[in-house]
């Protein structure tokens, strides 16, 4: 079927659309997580995800991750047309297993981080970010 951006945003945005296109976005989040973890169980703790509570514009949302001792951290935006955002792989010269970047969010949604720890275990953290849809186009 034709999958438009508008349609994709609607899926991210709400349950009404989700009933039309059942769990499209959510399934691909699971897929992305599975591809990263190989299906391993997800724990909690040891991973801090910092996001704004309210983003004034979804185009440029600052996010940070901090996971002492992690090998890699994957970021996902559960409500975007495609949930993948980026994966930070930390090398031997990393001074800390932390990083910040700026991301795009199609609307209010959960931002998810999964860290691969050095012992091979995985932990998950997620925050809801409310994205302001303003009326003043300018």
């Amino acid at each position: 079927m034709e999958f438009t951006r508008r349609g994709a945003l609607a899926v991210g945005a709400g349950a009404v659309a989700a009933s039309v296109l059942p769990s499209f976005a959510f399934a691909s989040v699971d897929d992305a997580v599975a591809a990263f973890t190989g299906g391993a169980e997800l724990g909690e703790g040891g991973l801090t995800l910092t996001t704004p509570e309210i983003a004034e514009n979804g185009n440029t949302v600052p996010v940070s991750v901090d996971a002492p001792g992690a090998e890699a951290v994957m970021l996902l935006a559960a409500g975007n047309p495609s949930p993948d955002v980026c994966t930070f792989n930390f090398g031997p010269m990393a001074g800390a297993q932390s990083a910040s970047t700026r991301i795009r969010l199609a609307g209010t949604q959960d931002v998810v981080a999964i860290a691969k720890m050095s012992d091979g275990s995985f932990v998950r953290a997620s925050n809801e970010v409310k994205v302001t849809i303003g009326g003043c186009g300018g």
């Binding site: 509570e53 983003a55 004034e56 514009n57 440029t60 600052p62 302001t132 003043c136």
Partner: protein, 286 residues
Amino acid sequence: MKTSSLRKTLGLSAAALAMGCGAALADADDNLVVNGEIEMVTQTEAPEHVEYLSTIRSGWTYRSDETQQFQMDDFDNPAMIFVDEARASWNTAEGSEGKSCASCHGTPEESMKGLRAVMPKWNEEAGEVWTLEKYVNDCRENRMGADAWGWTSTPMRNMTALISVPSRGMPVNVAIDGPARETWERGKELYYTRTGQLELSCANCHEDNHDNFIRADHLSQGQINGFPTYRLKNARLNSIHGRFKGCVRDTRAETFSPGSDDFVALQLYVASRGNGLSVEAPAVRN
């Protein structure tokens, strides 16, 4: 009647939103220091000619902590990408005379300090109020023999940002007396004139309802001391007239054109409402 019902509506939606999301709203008393060294006045007593506000506030004070932080360090401020582009253009000779900006003006730091703070201003020779854009194009056409840039074109937005940088931290000090008075009066009239199907004047949002919400937008005083400004929305610099056009269009009116005498007059008036705030351009807004 219309005014009071509008106020009520805006007030209600503001209350609803404030209840919905609580914190994260900016504090008017936050301090803006750029690069740990340029101290900005973001809040001060309103100039005498601003009759209905006691305090003037930079648009920065209305933004969320995250948006505010973008402006606190030049490396974090994406506007500086465009300033760098303008710097390259500043040093590039163009036109029939084989001159660049640098040929006459050296570096912007040497020659442009303070200029942004007094813009727009009366140009005696031309017999009218000139903005930075007019000065830039006068140089291009008459000294460089190059084509004029469009008022809201990318190179013009970038160049006006570069020219503003050396004035950052200086107080806006636009002259409204003498020959500029007539233009200023015209601008003031425009500021208070309702336009469009929504019948909104600049004042309805930015004077009567600043700090309230219009749907999810936290209304500022519409100060222009940070322009040209980088907006997260379109990830580029935005000109003063471009922003005016957007606002007027949002009232569902036919807008004036960027570069028109009407917008120049409005710019002089709006700039004068910010006399005493620091030049922040290029600022970062949502």
